[in-house]
Symmetry: C2
Subunit: 527 residues, 2 copies
């Protein structure tokens, strides 16, 4: 409701206030984790958390940590976290990682506290167009009209966030709807299973795979689970089709016993090469493949001219069931993944991408979670880690850098008991390094390896890619040595112990030590 | 133009490409500073900077530093800087400080590189609703349609940014419009003087000031320059009116020889008290006063019921001329500011707000620039610094915390040769600490004093303000001691030397040492 005058205090009876109805509605839906950077407009939410047990509140010192953590939490736990953000600017600070969450298909329930409904028209300094800021990243945006509807509104937001494969939902909560008595706890609708692919689609895909033309199965989104990957692998072995994955999986099961598959390469010419000779591409939970950026004189679509593209399933459909049905339709026998060979031993000598991958493969524990924001240095990490123990690999889905440290927070909280190893480019780490503090505060088992090339290395490649030769100004704009960042001091300042490695042997020693003890650790790896 | 196919390379003749036309148009308008966090879509802009001399490129490692610096640069230099931001997420990362810039009335020319026009429909991962993200903070948003219009478009953006008192203008630059030949350099329209206040307005205000009722002159925005402040002070002395300033001045000239005036207090009850007894309020370049937030059972409008409010000038009018005319109309003689008494000596003993203010007053050099993001600890700094040497005081205009470190960057670059002293709350500093790196890289004369209370102290007050008693969860959410941030390590990691002070004597020593030598320094002041 829009109030023309401030409401008076009412005595507390058996009712709850809006904030309490919100917390209870979240808990009733099984949402028990909130990543928070609260401000004044969220004080009643915080006070409600005092009175109602059961919510794990994770304090983050910058909203980009809040939202990046919520994204990774969903990727690992399969259920949304709530976020608590302060007014339009607080939401804005978390927008880039919500963009990544949107691209990942992650469910997030944003609670954005805002000016009281009767105060908003006065345009006090923090007043902003919250709906306008939320819109570009959110599948659901609503401003709560009254304390009586807070519960129902958050229930709708939860339902929207859970919609397969997961969506960003943003509920704007005017302060008075939080503090007024009269809240009503609500039940969120049960999650709905994703739509199945029609039988005709299965039959059509099978026909393509039987017609003898060079064909690719391109998997993305939720079709990259262990079971659908194995089905796709079995189909590929049976039909001769090529199997490829989207460029940046939100979560990919990897390592010994899992299907080995490569991703669409980032460099555009390698992207074209991955599709060379293909006459048919079957998409499973992924859009038609395009280059990450455009380059002068080059096409943006990666499939060859004349290549037929068939969408077996969209990201919102049950691609796993479709692949299983397709395997049955084709009579493709289940084939175990290829043997990746023996687990690598420890590497030695100078630091290289292959050496870092080998060190990881040699040392990572079972069921590790790898957070990959390695950017330019990390493109060669896949081949060297096929023979590692089973693990999950999480990537930067939307290209908005600065996700890695926050994602490590969310992954560790979303999958307790599993070690998180974050492969983190130094330039990208600077957008969200405050997340290290939360790692220390929550005593998370996160090992961060800063890949310290001390430059925006990817941009040097991009500058060449668009046909420019860098001069002094351009080189200066990509150089991080003046001054050099000291990651051991930065981590120490956040309460995370850290040490420096300049060789693979030193990396091995530090990595092994970190993996053997609880809590966060940071390795500055000099490249 | 929207291209259906990628353009082919054309030979370079006497023409310039879009990016070059952009740089030359900026330079021709006198815009010679760009705060940048570039990405792939901006590589042609960066390459153009290589070929065209005269632009000072300031690299920032996070977009919130870019935009906060541009805001303060405008406040000090009076002309817009350009920003260089990468796609929607890059803009989003800078949005909170653009909100502050909008509230400050600062002119900023945002250049947001985006997907090539023909690539955008393919919805590659970094593609976002850039216009949607820009809209809430921008008075001008345009997507360049063609390399031929880049120059004219940026000229329009410059004109919009310069519109009195200053506006945020956002130009979205598709990568192909930057790289294609056929750019046309343009001239930005000359800045237009702000509209004068009609004679009738002057007469009406004079009548109010003569009718004998208790009257306040409330000044904001560009009416807080040295001359209009002195005119307002002279009017107040002549008529008995009370003089007050808006809560958070974008820039306020202070110290010896300047008018001493207080601001609207932040705590709501003190805010009401500032207007108690007033029957008339005359607004000069500021909106009607409201509380920063709403609180249960309290009004949001600060003026008493029945108080008449008269807008002599809006923020977009020439309030300085109006005050001069009003003084003439009233026959108010020019009155020099009150003598603030002798310059304070050095304070001793335990740290207190008054002691910090005294140390500042005793040690700051002439024409220092004070950046005040002190939040809760800083509310008492004004009285103790009236007797300091002349200086400018800059505040957080939009309430989006994390502006201080970036503003120190922009102020130092916008006013070379003047020492910047940043009074910085620790919690707020965590949103933008990457700005310290730019301070080191550019060797800026910035002394940052981190006011390390190791909690979100303001929120403890706010929680009480909304009537809640903090329990364990709430207290945990406002506590920054687990772990404690080590600001000396954080600064050292960014290349800024730092030291810790736990008493006023130690503060004096470190502050004096920092002021005596060039470059940045950080003092962690334990509260």
């Amino acid at each position: 409701m829009s109030r023309s005058l401030p409401p008076s205090s009412r005595p507390r009876g058996n009712t709850v206030n809006g904030a309490e109805s919100l917390v209870r509605t979240l808990l009733r839906a099984g949402i028990d984790t909130v990543f928070a950077n609260p401000g004044t407009s969220e004080m009643h939410f915080v006070a409600a958390l005092d009175r109602i047990p059961g919510m794990h509140c994770v304090l983050c010192l910058d909203e980009t940590v809040v939202t990046g953590a919520a994204d990774a939490y969903y990727r690992m736990s399969g259920k949304p976290a709530a976020t608590l953000l302060h007014c339009g600017p607080g939401l804005a600070n978390g927008l880039a990682n919500l963009h990544n969450a949107r691209r990942a298909g992650s469910g997030v329930v944003n609670i954005v506290g805002d000016q009281a409904s009767y105060h908003r028209p006065l345009d006090a300094p923090l007043t902003a167009d919250v709906e306008g800021i939320a819109g570009p990243v959110s599948a659901f945006v609503r401003r709560t009209a009254s304390e009586a509807t807070v519960g129902a509104d958050v229930a709708d937001a939860i339902a929207a966030a859970r919609r397969f494969p997961g969506q960003v939902a943003t509920l704007i909560l005017p302060a008075d709807t939080a503090w007024e008595e009269g809240g009503v706890v609500a039940d969120a609708a049960a999650p709905v299973a994703p739509p199945l692919v029609a039988e005709a689609g299965i039959t059509a895909a099978a026909a393509l795979l039987r017609n003898g033309k060079p064909t690719m199965l391109l998997l993305g989104g939720k079709a990259m689970g262990e079971a659908p990957l194995r089905a796709a692998w079995s189909i590929a072995r049976h039909t001769g089709a090529k199997l490829l994955l989207e460029r940046s999986p939100a979560r990919l099961p990897r390592g010994r016993g899992r299907v080995q598959a490569e991703r669409i390469p980032y460099p555009i010419d390698q992207g074209f090469a991955a599709f060379t000779g293909m006459e048919q591409v079957i998409l499973v939970n992924t859009p038609p493949p395009v280059s990450f950026f455009a380059y002068p004189g080059k096409r943006g679509v990666l499939t060859p001219e004349g290549c037929a593209v068939f969408a077996l399933s969209t990201a919102a459909q049950d691609g796993a069931a479709a692949l299983a049905a397709l395997a049955r339709e084709l009579g493709a026998p289940d084939v175990p993944p290829a043997d990746p060979g023996p687990r690598p031993g420890l590497p030695h000598g100078a630091v290289s991408p292959e050496g870092v991958a080998q060190s990881l493969a040699a040392l990572m524990p079972d069921n590790a979670i790898i957070i990959d924001e390695a950017i330019s240095f990390g493109r060669g990490f896949f081949p060297g880690t096929h023979a590692a123990p089973p693990h999950d690999w999480m990537m930067l889905t939307g290209g908005a850098i600065g996700a890695g440290i926050p994602m490590a927070v969310g992954a560790a909280i979303g999958a307790p008991g599993r070690r998180v190893i974050a492969l983190q480019a130094d330039g990208s780490a600077m957008y969200s390094l405050a997340g290290l503090w939360t790692q220390a505060r929550e005593r998370l088992d996160v090992t961060t390896i800063i890949l310290a090339n001390r430059k925006y290395n990817i941009l040097l490649g991009e500058l060449a890619g668009v046909g420019a030769n860098p001069g002094r100004t351009a080189l200066d704009m990509m150089d991080l040595t003046n001054p050099a960042l000291d990651w051991c001091q930065l981590a120490g300042g956040m309460g995370v112990p850290a040490s420096r490695a300049a060789s693979l042997d030193e990396l091995n020693t530090l990595l092994a030590a970190s993996l053997s003890r609880p809590g966060p650790f940071l390795i500055e790896l000099l490249l």
